[in-house]
Symmetry: C2
Subunit: 145 residues, 2 copies
């Protein structure tokens, strides 16, 4: 199950934020992409909503993205070439991403770096570990042919 527009809007109300027209439109598009398991760029989001609502300002898109990241609904993935892409998720779930290098379909991975490996590294280096990121790249079933 992917996230729904209702869930995000409720979270906004709970947080004392206003559910405005531009935000509704952006949420709609983001949720649709989440449904298709696609990540997206800010540029793509802006261009897409532009069709229905040409009056939405670029800065609103930036501000809204930032807001959703703070609320925990959006994950920022930075690619090797420096581009940033976003992906909707249910908040609070620790997970990693497997992205198709061809079509940008994204799969959430529940498996994590094993604790004994982390412990081993901590012991070896003397560091205390506080966070980690694991990003996987490959080709999805449809793109393998």
């Amino acid at each position: 199950m992917t996230i729904t527009a209702q869930q995000i809007q409720e979270a906004m109300e709970t947080a004392g934020l206003r559910v405005t027209r531009p935000r509704q439109i952006l949420v709609e598009q983001i949720v649709q992409w989440a449904h298709e398991n696609r990540d997206f760029t800010i540029e793509a989001l802006w261009h897409t909503v532009q069709k229905d609502a040409p009056w939405i300002g670029r800065s609103t898109v930036f501000r809204t993205i930032e807001l959703f990241i703070e609320l925990g609904f959006l994950d920022r993935i930075s690619f090797a070439d420096g581009t940033e892409r976003y992906h909707a998720m249910r908040p609070g779930s620790h997970h990693h991403h497997l992205t198709c290098e061809q079509c940008h379909r994204v799969v959430e991975i529940a498996s994590c770096i094993p604790n004994d490996l982390l412990d081993h590294i901590a012991q070896e280096t003397g560091f205390s570990l506080s966070d980690h990121r694991m990003e996987l790249f490959g080709h999805c079933p449809q793109c393998q042919k």
Copy 2:
């Protein structure tokens, strides 16, 4: 053992590239930081060499960094906040990074994501895996106190 300036310069000659004054100066600074196990930003590199050689152009720094990445001597690490940092390494070695969130000391980690975990993920998702990135964050022994 960390990388030396000689190694990089030899690699440049082998590749048919010119060992020019600006490149020498940049290599020197990069190697020094590698020695201290510190990563750095392009901005920091420019400001630092500026002291000795104020005539070096900003674009030369960008071009040189890009060059060293292609030669495999430099690794680009993108942080969660969007900043990009660089770290010298001996080329061709597959490894990951553990960075101190406080002082930006970087340790290279030889251990990698276990193959059976990767296999498990590939099987579960149907993806063929081609690449991965693992980045660890924590606090180094000196910064823990």
